[in-house]
Amino acid sequence: MTTIAHPLPFAILASVGSLFLLLAALGSIKFPDFFTRMAAISKASTLGTACLLFTPVAAQFSWHALGATFFALAFLFLSAPVASHLLGRAAYKQKVPLFKNTQIDEWRNPKS
């Protein structure tokens, strides 16, 4: 097995990030509705990917890996909310069914 320069931060970041990705997958199975699933997937997967992208820098520091990580993180934090918003809007226009106990639907009746 290979030797890792700083094993403790690497193990903590890998465990936390994979736990958040597992929570995203669990949410995608257990939630009743497309839009609630979408919320679970987009938020938890962004945080989990951010933790896991830092693992090479945490294991062994190098400026190359740090630069690539910050580039990827900046693009991820800019693009993930935009992508989920685009997909949610397209799904609402396609009349994907809402959860049956939905209380507020501001697009259909703005006064509610």
């Binding site: 403790l8 193990a11 994979s18 497309f34 997937i41 990917t49 933790c51 896991l52 992508a83 396609q94």
Partner: protein, 89 residues
């Protein structure tokens, strides 16, 4: 410490399996596109963990590229869904 790394890899594999379940079952196209986003996130994380444990730095570049490309796939599918809605009217 080794056990924690193996536990995190096993957790990522379990997340892949669970999201594949929704990918097969998903009642609408939008569900499958959202799950595609999650799958690319999991593969990105798996590549960056494996790049450390197997000492292959190329895998980290692959992780960054997968992270960048996943936005294009989701945005293209969302635009396709909206366009299909406009053509239906």
């Amino acid at each position: 410490m080794q056990t924690w790394i193996e536990i995190s890899l096993a957790t990522l594999a379990l997340a892949l399996v669970l999201s594949f379940y929704r990918l097969v079952k998903g009642p609408h196209v939008a569900d499958r596109v959202a799950i595609f986003d999650l799958l690319t996130a999991i593969i990105c994380g798996l590549c960056s963990v494996l790049s450390v444990t197997t000492e292959t730095p190329v895998l980290f570049d692959i992780a960054v590229l997968v992270c960048l490309v996943s936005f294009l796939g989701t945005a293209t599918y969302a635009a396709l869904l909206e366009k299909r809605e406009i053509e239906k009217k």
